[in-house]
């Protein structure tokens, strides 16, 4: 930066020489202010999404920079929501990025008094073992009259109303094939 440029960037110089003698506008604008730009404009990409809260189904645009979500706001193209969001939808960015979010598997052993860390693979194996064990212990082949039951009442599941259709499909498919029927979600509540 040459001295002249530097001097021209100096508010009082601009105030005294420019169109803003009171120094309340153009002359007072800082370099930071001058270079301000919306972070949505500098995002690497935008994902078209849908709000995860209620069932109105408002369109969301998720702005991503350096593989981080930097802003979530309403999608003006949506004929449902026309770009608007309620306070919950407007809080989606913190829902996704809050440091209170849990990122690691936690395990509470029987009679334990505190959480412990567990790695994901181990947890998956343990859960698979427990599903099979519960199924084995509670399996019912047939009713009193010999009609097939082909099921277990030892396993329950609750949830799905906040999940994707594809996820619900796999959940129901897997549990049904395992003979687990006590599969429920918020629609019963």
């Amino acid at each position: 930066m040459g001295v002249r440029t530097w001097i021209e960037g100096w508010p009082v110089y601009r105030q005294l020489t420019g169109t803003d003698p009171l120094g309340r506008g153009a002359a007072a604008q800082s370099d930071r202010s001058k270079s301000l730009t919306a972070r949505t404009e500098t995002a690497d990409r935008v994902a078209k999404s849908v709000c995860p809260y209620c069932a109105v189904g408002c369109g969301q645009r998720i702005f991503v920079k350096d593989e981080k979500v930097v802003q979530i706001e309403g999608d003006p193209d949506s004929p449902i929501s026309r770009g608007r969001l309620c306070p919950k939808g407007s809080a989606s960015l913190s829902l996704v990025t809050s440091d209170r979010r849990r990122q690691h598997v936690l395990y509470r052993r029987p009679y334990g008094t505190e959480w412990e860390r567990l790695d994901l693979e181990t947890a998956m194996d343990m859960i698979a073992d427990r599903v099979l064990e519960a199924r084995e212990q509670t399996w019912e082949d047939a009713d009193d009259e010999g009609r097939p039951l082909n099921r277990t009442l030892g396993i329950s599941s609750l949830g799905g109303a906040t999940l994707d259709n594809e996820e619900n499909y796999l959940i129901k498919k897997l549990f049904t094939a395992l003979g687990a029927i006590q599969i429920e979600n918020q629609a019963r509540i």
Binding site: R45, K48, V50, C51, P52, C54, A55, V56, G57, I62, E67, V69, I72, D77, P79, I80, R84, G89, A91, L95, S98, R101, R102, Y107, Y111, A123, D125, I127, A128, D129, R130, A134, Q137, D141, R147, L149, N150, G154, S156, L158, G160, A161, L163, D164, N165, E167, N168, L170, K172, K173, L174, T176, I181, Q182, I183, E184, N185, Q186, A187, R188
Partner: protein
Amino acid sequence: MAEAHPVGFQWVIEAKNRGATVIHVDPRFSRTSALAHTHVPVRAGADIAFLGGVVNYILSNEKDFREYVLAYTNASMIVSDDFLDTEDLDGLFSGFDPKTNTYDESSWMYAGHEEHGQAHEESHASRETASAQQHESHGPPLPGDVRRDPTLQHPRCVYQILKRHYGRYTPEVVEQLCGVPVDKFLAVCEAWTSNSGRERTTSLVYSVGWTQHSVGVQYIRTGAIIQLLLGNMGRPGGGVLALRGHASIQGSTDIPTLFNLLPGYLPMPHHAQHVDFQDWIDDIRHPGQKGFWANAEAYAVSLLKAYFGEAATEENQWGYGWLPRLTGDHGTYRQALDMIDGKIKGYFLLGQNPAVGSAHGRAQRLGMANLDWLVVRDLYMIESATFWKNGPEVETGEITPETCRTEVFFMPAASHAEKEGTFTQTQRLLQWREKAVEPPADARSELWFFYHLGKRIRARLASSTLPRDAGIKNLTWEYGEDEPSGEAVLQEINGFDLSTGKPLSTFNEMKPDGSTSGGCWIYTGVFADGVNQAARRKPGSEQSWVAPEWGWAWPANRRTLYNRASADPDGNPWSERKAYVWWDGSAGEWTGHDVPDFEKTKPPSYRPPEGASGVAAISGDDAFIMQGDGKGWLYVPSGLIDGPMPTHYEPAESMIRNPLYGQQANPTRKVYDRDDNPTNPSPPEPHTDVFPYVFGTSRLTEHHTAGGMSRQLAYLSELQPEMFVEVSPELATERGLEHLGWAHVITARAAIEAKVLVTDRMTPLRIEGRIIHQLWLPYHWGAEGLITGDSANDLIGITLDPNVLIQESKVGTCDIQPGRRPTGKALLAYVEEYRRRAGLIPGHHTPIVTTRAPEDADGQQ
């Protein structure tokens, strides 16, 4: 609606700005009331009385849209001579069996078809399996050839039966029961009826708290009767619109994670009713019935092909034998009680927090404390994962970590931004979400979790020869190496022509011969032409107001169901102003702004030949094509557990004796009569004055359900930072409650504390000459999060609607006292003392049948 669905409410504001009148009927003055022209405070639990009064007003003043009613409803159909009304039987319909508290429904049927009605045993099985839920996409079976009286004069025609049934629901009775002054009630009736008809339509919007009643289905039925009588169904600006509360709760009903359903509302097989494949299919399609369910076999076989692939063959009945069978009620509340009884080993919670969000929180938590293992998948730490160390029962000593054996896995979940897939919103619209970023660290989608859980289980069973493992071994379960492709799963749901490998475009292409697959027939078409139709995002500003190119709606991208009714019987729009779908005679097809909900080339004049069945039996003016008789039902001859017409019953907990009938509450409601699930006394039981107030719960704009997605966020927590209870100034005076002071609310289940908000938005009502106070609580609080507090759902017991097994959690009775509740063991003793005073001692049973009619004297008085 403004309160819980603010962005949807923009359309109400827009309508209001264009001159629409907005009326809000709610016990509490909410943010919706603030923007409505009129707020009508009513007593919680008296909705059928209110709406029945509207029906009475319509019928006694002949305000119905007669041409519509004659053409498109069952008003003219003649009902069996055997039918007796609640007006005749002191609150029961004919066919009641006090031993099972269910109905033999044959007398409800149309004349001459009594044998089609459900008998007691069937009705009992239907209640246990919430079979009415199957009717979300279609009506129950019915014969097509029914006697009719188009003059509507026959004393046993539906119109006259309806008129007699609601004859006593006069404005004066509405005032007595609901607390709504006569002039105000009449103003609502006048506004509703004058804004309906050929030129105008009225929309009825409810939020799903309406379903959370022991008569929840009948609430909605009453609304539907009004909308049918006024000609508001299947027409633009009309309808009965459910505002559902979770991003894909509609989807999780369509592709159900529900015990009694398979995808597309196919019933889960029942051990006695559906022993083999043919029993199952015939029970769905009812041979000889008209309508699209005649093709049920194609839908069912396609589902089994999607599940079991090559292994599903005609010889093995497409793998039907591998499906598990129901024996009765396996709903979430039955499960919670079974957990307490030690019958259930393991429990998955998938973005759901029953410790706060389900009724009777204490039963939920005690149940979870008695499991072998629990898997909680969520974004944030929730109460259901920490009941063993932070729950209210830890404070009372009922649960101690050192003695609680439940092994708990907390698995971090991927957020909506971190996975691709579809949500189905409240209007049946599927919208595809693109994945923005990878989930952090160990967080995974449900798609990943269940795929890999399934892979592990299949690997462990690979060498099994047990018959029980054949289903899981034969399951098609190849979705790639790591994260399954959401699109691949959506394609499987859509279905394929297995001979060409091409995606199906409509469920009409499904075949019962195993040559097609499809995981959810009503979703077929979402991948029509191999294109993800749910991902369509043509801007709303660049298409018609119906916006058919935004997302995809089931079925067949139809935005308004039964829209054939938007045209008159001859196929012309009822009016130019309300034109939506109509018959284009010159082109020989149905056309309009939406996808016609009718066979495209079937003319209005079509009449089925003698003996026709299935789709061919649908007449050119049968606008309600999924109903067994093609008509909108003012009267339900079959398919509901608790009666063919909505009848005012008091809530399971009420301090008011039902003034209309001896039968106090819904006689068929599902009860779990156990000491750990007490019900506050209602008349004619004594001691109703122990719990002298009515309470209700609902949401705040600033929070979401059980709080897991809102009480963890600072920006939402600061907006509503504490649990509170709203009371009127009158109630505050009566109980000595101070604004912003503490109070506690007591029921037979629990006592919870909250800060008091004294507000004019709550008002006492005059009911039956008495003054009744109502108080209101939000239900978002629990022990985890940035802001914590007691849970309103702890107050609520488990009593269910018989049709769908949803709990009555939007009305109950309670006491409220100033100050904080006791803590520790003193809390248990405190609630116990209330129970004792209320007579809820061991051995007490809540009476179910309370009629005074002599023929029911053998009921449990």
